[in-house]
Amino acid sequence: MAEKRKIEVPVMADLFAKGEKPEYLLWVGSAGAFDDRYKKVIRAFVKILTHLNVSYAVLGVEESSSGDVARRAGNEMLYQMQTLTNIDILKMYEVKKIITCDPHVYNTFKNEYPDFDGNFEVIHHTQFLQKMIAEGKLKIESSLLKDKTITYHDPCYLGRANGEYNAPREVLDSIPSTLKEMKRNRSQALCCGAGGGQMFKEAEKGEKEVFMERTEDVLETGANIIVTACPYCMVMMTDGLKYKNKETEIKNYDIAELIEQSLEL
């Protein structure tokens, strides 16, 4: 019999006041905090962390935008203000390791924050899950997705930007299911269309939305599930399925949600 237990998400300031220091900081990101669809991803990932008894905390109301989008949209002033402020807070709490579900946050923390003396070990949640599986801490025995065909969309900022193609695939391999690649995958994967500030603006004049082009790649595989590992990709693929009238046949999940479902958390 399953019994529901309430999760109190640990907040850095509270732990610090008690003299406790968690192993990981979970960087929720603005999408995790405010986008209704993406909140479910963060909730799923927090359930996994709880299930694994991981020592972690979030910044809560002290968290702010990583600045990634500001920098890519050309507003370096704003980016540096965000960066310097964020680094101050992270250093105040003596943060050493950061987990995030957002490849854009991952990229800027890992590759760009060191220029401002912000040196942290940054881990994308797919890398964290891969590690847990490899260490035998996370085992998936469920046959829930056994008959499903899954296709994985590589987020640009995890794949091309940082060369991480294997971790998400290894996590998916651990879930009993069929994995089918799109014709454009790994370093050849097509962008969802949301990076570089596009998420927040109308696309420039053209013949087609980028996410529609990518959704067609998904449809070609005949998959029942499109799995992503990025909040922007999540929004774009959801829109794509909606415009193609495929939202009932094809589901769009983050890798963390598939794990959550498989573990019946």
Partner: protein, 440 residues
């Protein structure tokens, strides 16, 4: 004797003119801002070896990749014979390397084989460009000059290589006839197929063919050498250093602007180095023109051979937006060449009324998703994204000319720490009423 003098004069003029143009290009590249690309030489040499010499990234499109190896390797190896041509031209000898004896026909036969590879490659390339009309060679930025430039290069190479066959075939026939100074050096494999075509011609005509092909070949090479600096074909030289000076950091990293960090620190009330006095008013942000780009951006522009692999994979271009990463490189080069010409004519301090923005529109810049498909694809490691970011920085920080929706997210981030208009105090609401199933 006269021919030796003519040859040496031609060679001297060709080399002098070429050197002059390469110096100009080098000066143009140095107009860019400094950037450190000299760290980690081991890794850089490895990249040159892998990406430039062994052309690893060309194989992404295997047909074009293999044919390009034919032309590239063929052209370099044919130059074994060029070396002999040089010696013959300068000393007035005939087939100076024939002292190699038995090996000589083997070597010459090998160079003929390489010449054939070049011809095959170039003919198929001409066919792909002009008959099949592969879309990437017919994008809007491929106006008449870029298309003609490509065809001039390919046709010239075909002519240069064909001349090798007729040169060797006529030489061989003259050898068998023991005519004049044409001593027996043996037969060459591929040109022997050309022998029947000219076998019945009188010896004097064959000497004429032999000499014409020889002069055509050498004069052609010298002209070609001097055409290259005016052409996209300059990639044959500059792509090697361009790969050496590649960005070594992960593709997702954008170059920092340390110059403004001090100002931001003092705005945030953080301690700053009082020694370091920066005049914010005199500082410029991002790239408006050539001088605001790094020398590596400018070298990128000269390394681009307009193959269009970047544009072929660009999500914006695929979906019909105006952005084409290849066009950005072509535009940067055009602007740079114009700047260079202005310097030649009117001195270093001359400023015309143009900038990069006369070549590249805001619409193109704002269509980029920074997905790095272009940089990943480029066979010579050009960084198109850095140009986009620098020009966006100029638009946003100098001109306050970001698209309206982006201005809105800037002010949201500034005011409430998120691109959306939600209060920072609500950042933990997602955690409410969260339950986990515990298995009994």
């Amino acid at each position: 004797m006269i021919s030796t003098i003519v040859f040496i004069l031609m060679l001297a003029v060709a080399i002098a003119f070429f050197t002059r143009n390469v110096r100009k290009i080098s000066r143009n590249i140095k107009l860019g801002k400094d950037i450190n690309r000299k760290d980690n030489p081991v890794k850089r040499w490895w990249l040159v070896f892998k990406v430039a010499i062994f052309q690893s990234k060309m194989m992404g499109l295997p047909i074009a990749g293999i044919l390009h190896v034919f032309v590239y390797a063929g052209f370099i190896l044919v130059n074994i014979e060029m070396l002999e041509v040089m010696v013959d031209g300068i000393t007035g000898s005939h087939r100076a390397f024939s002292f190699l004896g038995k090996f000589y026909p083997v070597i010459i036969s090998a160079t003929e084989f390489f010449a054939l590879l070049v011809i095959i490659g170039c003919v198929v390339f001409l066919f792909r460009r002009n008959v099949i009309r592969l879309p990437r060679f017919w994008k809007p930025e491929m106006t008449s000059w870029p298309r003609l430039d490509a065809n001039i290069i390919l046709l010239t190479e075909v002519v240069l290589m064909t001349s090798v066959f007729f040169l060797n075939a006529s030489d061989y026939i003259l050898q068998t006839r023991e005519f004049g100074h044409y001593e027996q050096v043996g037969s060459f494999f591929l040109s022997s197929f050309f022998v029947p075509l000219i076998q019945n011609l009188p010896s004097e005509t064959l000497v004429l063919i032999d000499r014409s092909c020889w002069w055509l070949h050498i004069a052609g090479i010298m002209l070609f050498l001097n055409y290259i600096p005016y052409s996209k074909h300059f990639h044959v030289f500059v792509s090697f250093p361009n790969v050496y000076f590649s960005k070594l950091e992960p593709a997702g990293k954008i170059a920092n602007m340390p110059s403004i960090t001090r100002e931001i620190k003092s705005m945030l009330g953080k301690p700053v180095d009082p020694e370091e006095n920066v005049d914010m008013a005199a500082m410029s942000f991002g790239a408006q023109d050539i001088k605001d780009l790094t020398w590596k951006n400018l070298m990128d522009a000269y390394s681009c051979t307009e193959c269009g692999r970047c544009t072929r994979v660009c999500p914006a271009n695929i979906t019909g937006k105006k952005l084409s990463p290849r066009k950005l490189m072509m535009d940067a080069r055009d602007r740079l060449e114009l700047t260079g010409k202005n310097i030649d004519k009117k001195g270093v301090d001359y400023k015309d009324d143009k900038s990069l923005f006369d070549f590249i529109s805001a619409e193109e810049l704002w269509a980029c998703t920074t997905c790095n498909a272009c940089t990943n694809e480029c066979p010579v490691n050009i960084d198109q994204v850095s140009l986009v970011i620098e020009m966006r920085r100029y638009l946003v920080m100098e001109k306050a000319a970001a698209p309206g929706e982006l201005n809105a997210i800037f002010s949201n981030i500034e005011n409430n720490g998120a691109p959306w208009q939600f209060s920072q105090q609500d950042r933990l609401l997602w955690a409410n009423e969260l339950y986990i199933n515990e298995k009994a």
